[in-house]
């Protein structure tokens, strides 16, 4: 399923204040790596067994989520800023994707849909487009007709699956200004 494509990474301008160097140092932090291994193990066991076994898991959900968020923000900034190759940041993106995917299973300090979305985007940036498309499918309820207003996650899910002809149709309701009646209804 995993297939690498060309990198979108790079970014000397993002690194003007040493942001990339700090992110790489954080990503390489032994304690964070240990915590991430615990998160992945717990998520895997939860998927296989239905629930995680009683065990003193050695990680702080709030700290790991916070740190992964920091790394994710840097990866996105690099991806937007430069087109030269940064394989080191790609590796960070892959680790982030795996972390978000695990938190989508565990639901700790995160919402499942947000975690899935972040994982799909991180896989995309890491060059794992097949993984991104696979996760993006899970953002959309099966046989969804999109008669009602789609969520932002669903629209992004359609985009990440590269359903580019379907995308404007799905997104169209979001581009319309709200009606007065809908506003009055939604206010409560």
């Amino acid at each position: 399923m995993r297939r690498r494509t060309s990198s979108l990474m790079g970014a000397d301008s993002v690194d003007g204040d040493g942001r990339i160097a700090r992110a790489l140092a954080l990503a390489a932090d032994d304690d964070l790596q240990r915590e991430l291994r615990n998160v992945r193990a717990k998520a895997t066991l939860t998927e296989v067994l239905g629930e995680a076994p009683e065990y003193r898991w050695r990680y702080s959900p709030s700290r790991v989520v916070r740190n992964v968020l920091a790394l994710d923000r840097t990866v996105r900034a690099v991806a937007q800023d430069d087109l030269t190759t940064r394989s080191d940041i790609e590796e960070v993106a892959k680790g982030i994707a795996e972390a978000w995917e695990s938190f989508a299973v565990l639901g700790e300090r995160t919402e499942r849909v947000s975690s899935l979305l972040y994982a799909a985007i991180a896989y995309e940036l890491a060059g794992y487009q097949a993984n991104a498309a696979c996760l993006a499918k899970r953002l959309i309820v099966r046989n969804r007709s999109f008669v009602t207003l789609p969520s932002l996650e669903e629209v992004i899910g359609v985009f990440l699956q590269r359903q580019l002809l379907r995308l404007p149709i799905v997104a169209e309701p979001m581009l319309r200004p709200p009606s007065k009646a809908a506003l009055r209804h939604q206010a409560w």
């Binding site: 700090r22 992110a23 304690d31 964070l32 709030s62 916070r66 920091a70 300090r109 007065k180």
Partner: protein, 96 residues
């Protein structure tokens, strides 16, 4: 993610401090607090909203809820749309 992006877009003075906070590995134990702000029409507010919040299985702690009551909130929202130049659609289906 949203808060960080907004700070970055505005080149806000707290942006780099927020970045350091996210990256921090130690020293935050017991210092983090969480807040929810709800903006609600005064006549439509129901106390049971807070009950539903407390009933959620994984509420983050310590959590403080702030509820802002505004009279005739719809008028405020409509005026806000008008201010940013968005014209609301008159409803054709309302009588159907």
């Amino acid at each position: 993610m949203f808060v960080g992006q907004r700070l970055d877009e505005q080149n806000h003075q707290l942006s780099s401090a927020f970045e350091r906070y996210l990256s921090q590995r130690t020293g935050l134990e017991g210092h983090e607090t969480y807040r929810i702000f709800l903006v609600w029409d005064r006549d439509q507010w129901r106390e049971e909203v807070l009950g539903k919040l407390e009933a959620l299985p994984q509420v983050i702690e310590p959590l403080t809820s702030h509820i802002v009551h505004i009279s005739d909130l719809v008028t405020v929202v409509e005026a806000s749309f008008d201010r940013v130049g968005i014209e609301l659609i008159e409803d054709e289906e309302e009588d159907q």
